[in-house]
Amino acid sequence: MRTTNTRTKNRRTKKTHRGKMFAALLFALSAFAALTGCSSKTAPTDGASSAAPPAEDAAPVSEAIPEGESLPASEAPVAESELKALEITNVSYDPTRELYAAYNEIFAKHWKEKTGQDVTVTQSHGGSGKQARSVLEGNEADVVTLALEQDINELVTGGLIESGWVGEFPKNSAPYTSTIVFLVRKDNPKSIKDWDDIVKPGIEIITPDPKTSGGARWNFLAAWGFALDLYQGDEEKTTQFLKDLYGNVTVLDSGARGSTTTFVENGQGDVLLAWENEAFLSLLEHPDDFEIVTPSISILAQPSVAVVDEVVDKRGTREVAAAYLEFLYSDEAQFLEGQNFYRPSNPDILAGFADTFDLNLKLVNIDDDFGGWTAATAKFFADDAIFDQIYKQ
């Protein structure tokens, strides 16, 4: 060390310099990867732009929007608009990723057959509330397909969607439904059959935080529905039941996908309270590790869909956006929804999936049993409401 002279010192600094360059390169690479990751999420493979003239291909996406906007203004003839490829954005929540990837294909085919026009649907997924906020803050979604009616109502409050959207499409604008089930480890080692089994001491429950996750509110309300029935309407006992239940929760992730990861990949807990479709997807991926247990009572979860009025009027895409949601009710799409483990709203098609779903499950629902989302939120999930009381010491 003592003979260290300026030469080695120089070399040393040079080396750290290179090291920094290397690190900078790594950073640039990962930043690039992140960027491409983002863009591939927001702008899927070209597909539909093949019909557009080559000049259009080179134009950035943002320039395509004002062109679309100018269409209604100049009253362009229908024939001309038919040549142009359309692009719409569907802002959805986490577990619908696989469903809409498949649905976008059949819708594009349907639209092409009907109008001769190509349409590309850009997908965006994330926590339902976060997605609603992103639309509120300027993410231009033509349609939203979210987990909670309430998240769409926030867009009404924000002036993006006209009130009365619930009546715009059949079945309260809920083309498919789902429910909350239990995912347990193979052979059900803790013999969990129903809600009253999971509040027993020693059972470890994984469920997301209702304060940060839309899906988690369904879990809470399903448990409430069961306990209220068990105690014949005694809310005090029901609250105690929920207290015991959340006392058994070992990891309260901030989102539904996080909980699934915690239970499935990290091996935590004995039971995961999950969306039925998420539970089936986990089962599909790890058929030998898990089982689905359907409790005696659960909740009818109605993910809602709506056209974002302000955006479609601005972009001139109302027709295609409405058709996109309307087509969700077609037999073909309903069947696809069943295949993706959502319960089709069409009873005839649902009956065809009797092998998959437990159709005898008693379902409480948000409107009849909880007085709608606004009331339920105020009673259970607002600050200092029942959920906060459960954790108060």
Binding site: D209, K211, V249, L252, G267, Q393
Partner: protein
Amino acid sequence: MGRVKAKGIIPGFGISMGITVSMLSLIVLIPLISVFLNMRGMTFAEFWHVITDKQLVSAYKISLGCSALAASINAVFGVLLAWILTRYQFPGRRLLDGFIELPFALPTAVAGIALTTLYSDKGWVGSLFARAGIKISYTPAGITIAMIFIGIPFVVRSVQPVLEKIDPKCEEAAAMLGAGKSRTFFKVILPEIFPAALTGFGLAFARSIGEYGSVVFIAGNIPYKTQIAPVLIVSKLEQFNYAAATSIALIMILFAFILLFGLNLIQARIVARSGGGE
């Protein structure tokens, strides 16, 4: 005016100051001010109610406690790491040097998920500890580990240049005067690198307080036990309660500011003292 201009030796003060001020305003000041604008229409009583909520206070304690622990561990191991990187030649040294910044480059969620899997009682590392009855993921220990992960580059990169600049002659002189190795380290080297290590500590601390992406996966997020303050901000946002979310953020900014300001003061004092001695 002409006289003022003539005084400057380095040209371009006006333009560089102009660019600096506008960049600072656009990127730092205006966003910070807009944070406060979000609190419009909130009375002080409401604000006080939000920030003194029991659940939030316990979340602050967890956030601050884990951050302090993580930053302290980082200060020790960061100095050690910087020492190895500057003082020794070994195969793979440059690679290791490049890896130091990875925690900055890696998307925090990726880091969080990887750490959680690794340290859960079913993971490679976590299962070893689980045998001894120690749980890491989903406990404050896990939170601390995630914070160590994101904070380590701050200390290493603060200390490294200082270590490189220490003239070997000082050590030689100390040795000639009869100081042992440990004495040389504590009396000669440590005082030199201490201010830099303090900077690193402060940065790592402040960063950890606000960290969300990686910590949220490894924290069990159980209220009063493993819930960190940033999660409560998200929780308020989820209820579209921007004002409450901002109130919590304000307190966190305040913590970070007091911390960094305090450390700056200490540093200024150290520099003044050592400067006087020379």
